[in-house]
Amino acid sequence: MTRFGFIRELGLLPALVVIVLAGALINNKFLTPINVVNVLANTSALALLVLGETLVLIAGKFDLSLESIVGLAPAMGLMLVLPVAARGWGIDLPVAVGLVAMLALGALVGAFNGALVVRLRLNAFIVTLAMLIILRGLLLGMTHGETLFEVPDAYLFLGAATVAGLPVSVWLTALCYVAAALFLRYHRFGRALYAIGGNAQAARAAGIRVGRVTIGAYVVAGLLAAVAGLIMCGRVGAVAANQGNGWIFNVFAAAVIGGVSLDGGKGTMFGALTGALLLNVVDNLLTLAQVETFWIQAIYGGIILLALMFSRLTNRAEQV
C-alpha cells in the first residue's frame, strides 16, 4: 500500500467533508438542524435504490428498471385500496394487503429481471432498460398520467413520521445500510456476490450457485426500490405518474462516485452511502444558493463528473 493508502479507505469522505464545510461557509442556513434533517430525509429514498443497485453491480450486473418500480409499486399499492372516486380500482382491499402487494411487486420485477438475465443470458442493460420503459408505461396507463392524492395514513408512516427527531425513513435506511454492510462482509451470500462479480466462472467451479445468488440480488434491489417508492409517497403525500423518473442516473452516479465498479466484484456500502449523500448535499447547496432552476442540471452534472475524476485520482488504478 502506498503512503496515501489511507485515503483509499476513506473513499469519498474527504470530499464530502470539504463540501459540507464549504457549504457552511457559503450559506448560514446549510448546517441548521432543519436543513440537515431535510438533506437526510431527501437522501433516504435514493440511498435505498443505491444500496440495491450496489448489490447488483457487485455481482457484475445492472438494473436500470429500479426507478420505474419507485413509481409503479406505490401507485399499484394505492389503487388496490382506493375507491374509484379517488382514481383507485375500487377493489377496496385492506391497506395491509396493499402494502404487501407493493413490496411483492418490487420483488417480483426483480426476480423476473434476474431470471431473464441469468437463465436466458440476456444482456442486463437491455433487459432492464426495456423493463424500465414497460413499467413506466404501465404506470401511465393505470393512472392516465394523473396523480394519486388520497393516501391512507399507513402509507405515509415511512416517509412522514418521525422518531427521535428523524424521519422513520432515515432510521430505516441507516438500518438497511448497516445490515447490508455486515451481510456483505460476514455472510456467505454477501461474499458470493463479490466472488461472482470478480470471476463468475471461478465462483461456479467453487460451488457457488451463481444463478440463484444473482437473482437474489435482483430481488432485494427490486424490493428496496418498492420501499423507496413508499418513502417518496409518504414524503410527498401523493404518487405522481412520474415518481422516480430519471432517478437511475443519480443512482449510478452515486454508486460509481462511491467506488462501486461497473465491472463487478468491487464496492462497499460505505462508499455507496457517501456517494448518495454527496449528490444530495450538492443538490441541497445548489437549491439554497438559489441557483436558477434551469441551470441546476448542468451544474449538477458537472459536479458528478468532477467527483468521478477526483475519486479516480485518489483511488488510482483501483477504479471502474
Binding site: 460476514y186 463479490y194 466472488a195 470478480g198 467451479a205 467453487a206 466484484g265
Partner: protein, 496 residues
Amino acid sequence: MNGAVDASGITKRFGQTLALDAVDLRVEPHASHALVGRNGAGKSTLVAVLTGLLRPDAGRIAFDGVPAPPRDDRAAWQRLVACVYQRSTIIGALSVAENLFLNRYPTGRGGAIDWRAVRRGARELLDGLEVGIDVDRAAADLSVEERQLVEIARALSFGARFIILDEPTAQLNKAAIDRLFAHVRALQAAGVTFLFISHHLEEIYEIARTVTVLRDGRCVRTGPVDAITKADLIAAMTGEDAHAVVAMPRDEGPREPLVEVRALCGNGFEDISLTVRAGEVVGIAGIGGSGKTALAETLAGLRRARAGSITLAGDALPNGGDVRARIDAGIGFVPRDRQVQGVVPALSVADNATMTIWNRLGRFGVIPPGARERSARRMMDAFGIIASGPQAPVESLSGGNQQKVLLARALASDPRLLVLIDPTAGVDVKSKEVLLDAVDAARRNGTGVLLVSDDPDDLRTCDRVIVLFEGRVTAELAAGWREHDVIAATEGMALA
C-alpha cells in the same frame, strides 16, 4: 542453397525456465517439415519466434538467406511467414472478403472502400487456391476446414511463402484432412513451404518429408521421416527413460471401489466407464480435444452428462450442473486454468481458500471472521502458501501459491474423491512437489483421486492411467505402465 528458414542457436528464457535452448531449425524450400514434441517442449515458443511475435534472447533467423526483419516491423514479417493457429484469427462478424482484405481495402475515389474490388480480389485469391467459398459469407459460418483455407489464402496474399500450420487436423474428420493435405501438396508444388505442428504422429508420416523433435526446449532429433520409426520418434519425444517402468504397483492390498462411472456420455466424450478405488490415483491422459477435461468437469458437476451414471460410494449422483451438490456429496475439485476458473483475483487468500466451506464456518450462512482466518491460516501453514497474510488479495500471489490455495480449498471440504485438472500447470518445481505430496497424503488417507494431466511428473504419481482419444477410452494402463505407452496412446498411435 539457402533454406526457406534457417534458424540457428535460438534461445528464449522466461524467468527461471529455459523455453528454448539453442535450437537449430532448417526448413528446406518447398518442403513439408513436421515439428513434434510433448506439451511444454517449446513448440509454441519456437512458432512465436519464427513468426516474429517473440524476440529470442539469442540466435539468428534468416528467410531464404535474408536475415529476419526487426520485431516491430509486422508488415515485413507478414510478407515472409504466417501461422494458422488452432484458434481462429478471423473476425466472425465480417464477410470472407472483408477478412481477406482487412485494413488494406482497395479504395476508389476519395478514399472510399471499393467493395467490388474487394470482392473481386477475394474471389481471385480463393480461385487461385481452387477453393469454392462464397466470399460474401459471414466468416463465422465457415467450417474449420474452410476457415483454415481462408487463413492460408490471406497469408499467401501478403506474399508469405512459408506457412506454419499449428495442429491443423485437430478438429477435422478424415475426409477434410485428405482435402486439406491435397491443398497443401498443390501449394507445395507451387513453391510454398510448410511447417506442421502435429500431435497426430500418424499424419506426419503421411504429409511430412522431414521431422524435427523438440524436447525440453532442445532440438533432439531431425531427419527424413522415412528414416525414423514410430518407436524412435516416441523415444525422442520422451527421452532415454521412455522404456523404464515409472509407476510401480503399490503394495497396499485391495481397496473397495469408490466411484463407478458407467457409460457416461457428454459434450466431447462418449461411453466412458471407469472405476476409482479409495486410496487410488487414476490418471486421465489425452491431447487437447480428447474429452479428458470435459469428463472431469462432468464428474465435478460443472457440466451435465447426456447419458450414463456416476455412483459415489454406492450412491447414484443426480445429473450435474451443480457443483455445490457434488461438493456436498464428497467431491473436491481443482478446475482447469486457475486464471479463468480458479481464483477470484481481487478477493483475499482467506476468501478464496474457504469458498467451498463458507456454509460450514458458522450458522445461518454467517462467516465468522475468526473462523475464516483460522481456517485460512491452517491451510497456509499446511501447504506452505507464501502470502503477506490471509487478507492479501490472491492475485498478489505467485502461480504456484495460487494453485496451492485451489488445492487447499478442494481438500477443505474433506472430499472422498478429488478431481484435479492440470493441478501443477505452470508452477515452479518446489510448488509442484508440495502439490503432489498433498495429493499423495490425501490418497494415503483413503481419498480417491482422478487426475487429468499430460504432465509426466503428475502422471508418475498415478496407479493407473486411462487414455482418451477423440472422446473415447483407447487404453487403460495398469500399474507398472511405461511412459512411452502413454505417449503412444495419447498420440493416437498403435505401437506394434
